[in-house]
Amino acid sequence: MPMSVEREIAVDYLARVEGEGAMYLKLKGDEVLDLRFKIFEPPRFFEAFLRGRRFSEAPDITARICGICPIAYQTSACNAMESAGGVQLTGGLRALRRLIYCGEWVESHALHVYFLHAPDFLGYDNAIAMAADFPEQVQMGLRLKKIGNQIMSLIGGREIHPINIRVGGFYRVPTKKELETLVPDLEWALEAAVATTRWVSGLPFPEFERDYEFVALQHPDEYAIHEGRIVSNRGLDISVDEWGDHFEESHVSWSNALHARRKGGGAYHLGPMARYSLNFEKLTPMARKAAEEAGLGSRCNNPFRSIVVRAVEIAFACEEALRLIDGYTQPDAPSIEVEPRDVVGHGASEAPRGTLYHRYALDSGGLITEAHIVPPTSQNQLSIEDDLRAYVVGRTQLTDDQLQWQLEQAIRCYDPCISCATHFLDLTVERE
């Protein structure tokens, strides 16, 4: 292809992502003239219709933002309201909140690893096509996903948009015996996750690394999932209520999701690679061993290898779930009293795709006067665009079809949840 030819690659509708998104790339020879990761999922107005609702309704309303990661929304909302009310869950209640979140990680990561991401590396258009040649792996993925769902159903009442989570705890708490019914499946799942890590670590990965600012929650005693401080590999270490002092959002014309950046800085990277690279030391033993055997090291800067990190996190979540069940003592009451009044509450947790931040202003009657929800995919948009721009360099000799296929893969590395972010994929490459 002559160097001066302008080319345009447009993907109008990205496959194997949650929600509606597109990509547009304009090239002149080796030069990227324009690149946009577009989220066109329509605006959903959740923040607006939370206004005037009671603080206690936020977990159930925001759960509806996502059918894949409702626990993340419910947990961040509960954290915000509990922090506003000056209470903190302890003991069995805290264990259950972390345990149900482990279920969501297993379910969401198994879906992404086996059904959305693995087909990219093996050259299939979808998991159904892959299943004919890799039936054992697909069956393993199905069973892992189901076990994640079982945890969510047992504690949450059902797997999609669970109904048993409330500010201050739960409506009903399970007995230890009930939780113990999960143990045999979780023991199988831990082994399966270790096998998954081994399998995906052998996939063919492009040589591509970037020097990211990783941002994730961090906790002194555990691999952070449902609470912690917000930290980065470039010195950020803040409490959740300081989010607004360090991050900002802006609107761009080509996306219905707000772009987030570090104040006075640029893109940052959320999700499994960020958590892994920041909190490697806190991984459980089997997960850490699986990571070491997969050759990951203590950090990962190749977004394509995020599939390996997700597999490690499945192993972690299973191991952690087993630990939590083993140590569980049924709480005396299913919830604790929380009555936040005239206060602003901040909450964050690690959705499978990365840190999910909520802020609510409440009036003297406990009604929400302002809601602010910052999902991980909207925060990752800049990082995704930076990845795509960097990935094209040195690869402009590829045909439009090859380039499109590889760039779509680069986007899927983020497990983007466009439905959550809207407030996403179709690819267009234009060459000059």
Binding site: I128, A132, P135, V138, Q139, L142, N149, I160
Partner: protein, 137 residues
């Protein structure tokens, strides 16, 4: 007998209604149409799945597929907002060797999927006729 649908999205409940009303069956299941359907029909000799359809045909049209003997066409059955649909699940099951020997899939063309409980007149008629057809078989 597996009915697939959302009871609070108008005609999307058509499959659920058929499953509730049919008498000639040993087990009823309601499902939201994800890969977990394979677990639901595990061990069954004969399976009937009824789902909502959105092919553009007139509301109340009933599509019939002998799924074990022919691949399900795409673009007929309703898709799931949370997961994969019946068509994808059946094609996945076929590749994994988890498709029952006898599996009939019915798709009832919808009129409305607007939030709310209750079927449109055309879909209600189609549900009644399909229930009689299945009970007579």
């Amino acid at each position: 007998m597996i009915g697939v649908g959302n009871p609070t999205r108008g005609d999307d409940a058509a499959g659920l209604e058929v499953a509730r009303r049919v008498r000639r069956v040993e087990a009823h299941q309601e499902a939201n149409g994800s890969y977990e359907l394979m677990d639901v029909w595990e061990g069954a000799d004969e399976v009937i799945v009824v789902d909502a359809a959105r092919s553009g045909a007139p509301p109340g049209t009933v599509h019939r597929f002998d799924a074990h003997h022919e691949p399900l066409p795409s673009g007929i059955l309703a898709t799931s907002t949370h997961s994969v649909g019946v068509m994808e699940t059946i094609e996945m099951a076929r590749r994994l060797g988890r498709l029952p020997e006898r599996i009939m899939v019915y798709g009832i063309e919808v009129s409305t999927l607007a939030p709310g409980v209750g079927l449109s007149d055309q879909v209600e008629r189609a549900v009644k006729e399909l229930v009689m057809e299945i009970d007579r078989a």
